[in-house]
């Protein structure tokens, strides 16, 4: 039988799961990164999270900014608690001792301090300075080994902070139990912070890069969704009863309603009714089946206006808590932050009706677009497992045209249902139409229908008059078909 090691929480949102449950108690880690990557904030955040639970922390620095300056900077972050300085957490500098007496004196001092303070976490900031003082690689390794064994002896966890150098093949890496690397890199014109656990002894860590940000609460890490949710967090129990779509006339076309916990992609060019369809769906939200609008385009205020314009009163649903609207401007977003925010919002209220308006907001946030397939796979699997019935929109670039491309063919195949909305020109009149292209596990009418928007949201009307080419938005009367196809 396998057993898991006792853990020390990092207190950093998202980091414990990446480390397989937190830092291993009594283990030692190197936290490395370029200056400005966030090492100091991360380690102080871990320190104060543990101080807040009554643990003692020893923070040892070598040649660095003065502690007072450090406190001034940390003072802008919510986790920093000045009243714990000197009681819960002690900052000491050992530079003079290193300079005058060497590495072994530092080891001896740290050993005494750990027991004097009763520290369960030691942060050692300045591993490279210590290495500079070492005469050989073996001395540097010995220094690390001695500190970690002294600490491990009393169950104290150690974070060694180190600035990375080019072509760094640090001998210390072989000694420690884990290596956490912080990156701040340019991607195009923007910069993206990413964290990687390069080594994790005795615990399966989530590999690869994980995006993080530094805000007034310190570091928040967003575990790569497809790694964190490689398998959904709970088991999906599919139910056979369909969910009313809220769109008049649509349920009759799709066999009674949307399959429970299915994901439907509604795609079409701008102005063809995607948002209206989503609002109609959310109009059926109740306290038992709460709804969520997770959008990138319109603000909640604009959505409410739009809903009112088409005869839907969503204000009472918002007021009662049956409906929530989360708007994320389509600016510099982090893909995994979006994914986690969405899932957290769904879990927080037990959301059953979800509209994502639209998937393009995720696509634009992707720094590495090829992973979108895995990202959407894990997101949609999790939503199904949470028993959420989802409508996601996707905007087609061309208002009219012969090519009708679904968003990345692999992405489309991950979704259960495909519904296309288009404006079709027939005899110099534009008609809004709806076509059901795919309904997983359910029969549907393969007929293009006209839709109208008014009074009570979106309404599916009569089948479109017989024409060809409606799917491209440019319809032709039936009689001209034969000669056209010969030309083609």
């Amino acid at each position: 039988m396998t057993h898991s090691l006792p853990r020390l929480t990092t207190g950093i949102p998202g980091l414990d799961p990446i480390l397989g449950g937190g830092l291993v108690e009594g283990a030692s880690y190197i936290v490395q990164g370029q200056p400005g990557a966030g090492k100091t904030i991360l380690s102080n955040q871990v320190a104060f999270a543990n101080v807040s639970t009554g643990r003692k922390v020893l923070y040892v620095t070598l040649l660095a900014e003065t502690h007072e300056r450090l406190f001034q900077a940390l003072g802008t972050l919510s986790f920093f608690d000045r009243t714990k300085l000197g009681s819960g957490i002690t900052y000491v500098s050992v530079f003079q001792i290193l300079r005058d007496q060497g590495l072994s004196a530092v080891v001896s001092l740290i050993r005494k301090e750990i027991s004097r303070q009763g520290a369960s976490l030691l942060v050692f900031d300045g591993l490279l300075n210590a290495r500079d003082r070492a005469d050989t690689d073996l001395d540097a390794k010995t220094f690390v080994a001695e500190i970690q064994s002294q600490a491990a002896f009393v169950g104290c966890t150690v974070l060694f902070l180190a600035s990375t150098r080019a072509a760094d093949d640090s001998p210390e890496h072989t000694m420690v139990d884990g290596v956490i690397e912080l990156h701040d890199e340019l991607s195009g014109v923007r910069s993206v912070r990413r964290l990687q656990v390069k080594k994790s002894r005795g615990a399966p860590a989530l590999g690869g890069f994980h995006q993080f940000e530094i805000g007034s609460d310190g570091v928040s890490v967003f575990p790569r969704l497809e790694a964190a949710l490689g398998r959904p967090s709970t088991e999906n129990k599919p139910s056979s009863s369909p969910v009313p779509s809220g769109v008049q006339g649509l349920d009759a076309v799709i066999g009674g309603g949307l399959t429970t916990s299915s994901v439907t992609l509604v795609f079409g060019p701008s102005g063809c009714g995607k948002t209206s369809l989503g609002l109609s769906f959310l109009n059926c939200s109740t306290a038992q089946e709460p709804g969520l609008h997770f959008g990138f385009y319109e603000t909640p205020a604009r959505l409410l206006l739009k809903a009112r314009d088409i005869g839907l009163e969503l204000d009472p649903l918002l007021a009662s808590g049956a409906l929530e609207m989360i708007w994320t401007p389509m600016t510099e977003n982090l893909l995994d932050k979006l994914g986690h925010n969405l899932i957290d919002a769904v879990k927080a209220r037990g959301v059953k009706r979800l509209v994502i308006d639209g998937l393009g907001g995720f696509e634009r946030a992707a720094v590495h677009p090829p992973r979108l397939v895995e990202f959407f796979a894990s997101l949609s699997n999790e939503l199904r497992a949470l028993d959420v019935t989802t409508i996601a929109t996707w905007e087609l670039r061309d208002l009219f045209g012969p090519t009708v491309s679904a968003p990345g063919s692999e992405v489309s195949s991950l979704l259960d249902n495909l519904v296309m909305l288009r404006q079709v020109e027939v005899n110099s009149r534009y008609k809004k139409t709806l076509s059901v292209l795919k309904m997983r596990d359910s029969a549907f009418e393969p007929v293009i229908h006209e839709v109208s928007i008014g009074n009570n949201g979106l309404r599916v009307e009569v089948p479109l008059q017989p024409v060809t080419g409606a799917a491209t938005g440019v319809a032709k009367p039936l009689e001209s078909t034969a000669s056209d196809s010969v030309k083609a």
Binding site: V60, L63, T66, H67, E68, F71, R82, L85, G86, T90, Y91, V92, S93, V94, F95, Q96, I97, R99, D100, L109, K112, E113, R116
Partner: protein
């Protein structure tokens, strides 16, 4: 020339402080922690001790307690210089003759020293 012992683990602060005091006409001896400063005080019988609070091996408060408990050192004036623990110092009457908050302000420190040393 009056001798001042400095207890300060942060080398940059200790260096700047020593220069400042030497410029003001004092002789200076520094230690990187409270324990070292206690040794120095015993050896050199300084006219005054300036100490930080958070230091390895012995804090500024522990240094003051040790000096006050030692008949030969108990009358040496002690100034606590601290950013965050000034309140701990003020809450321990009889330990410190003055408590100054970091960051250091040269003028205030020199005034405080002058006030504590016999003219």
């Amino acid at each position: 020339m009056a001798l001042i012992v400095i207890a300060e683990d942060e080398f940059l602060i200790a260096d700047v402080l020593a220069m400042m005091l030497e410029d003001a006409g004092y002789e200076v001896a520094s230690a990187p922690h409270g324990l070292g400063a206690l040794q120095l005080a015993k050896e050199k019988r300084p006219s005054l001790v300036i100490t930080d609070f958070m230091m390895p091996l012995m804090t500024g408060l522990e240094l003051a307690q040790a000096m006050r408990a030692d008949m030969s050192l108990k009358d040496i004036p002690i100034i606590l210089m601290s950013g965050a623990q000034g309140d701990i110092g003020r809450a321990n009457p009889g330990m410190f003759d003055a408590v100054l908050d970091k960051p250091y302000q040269e003028e205030r420190l020199i005034k405080a020293i002058a006030a504590l040393l016999p003219q």
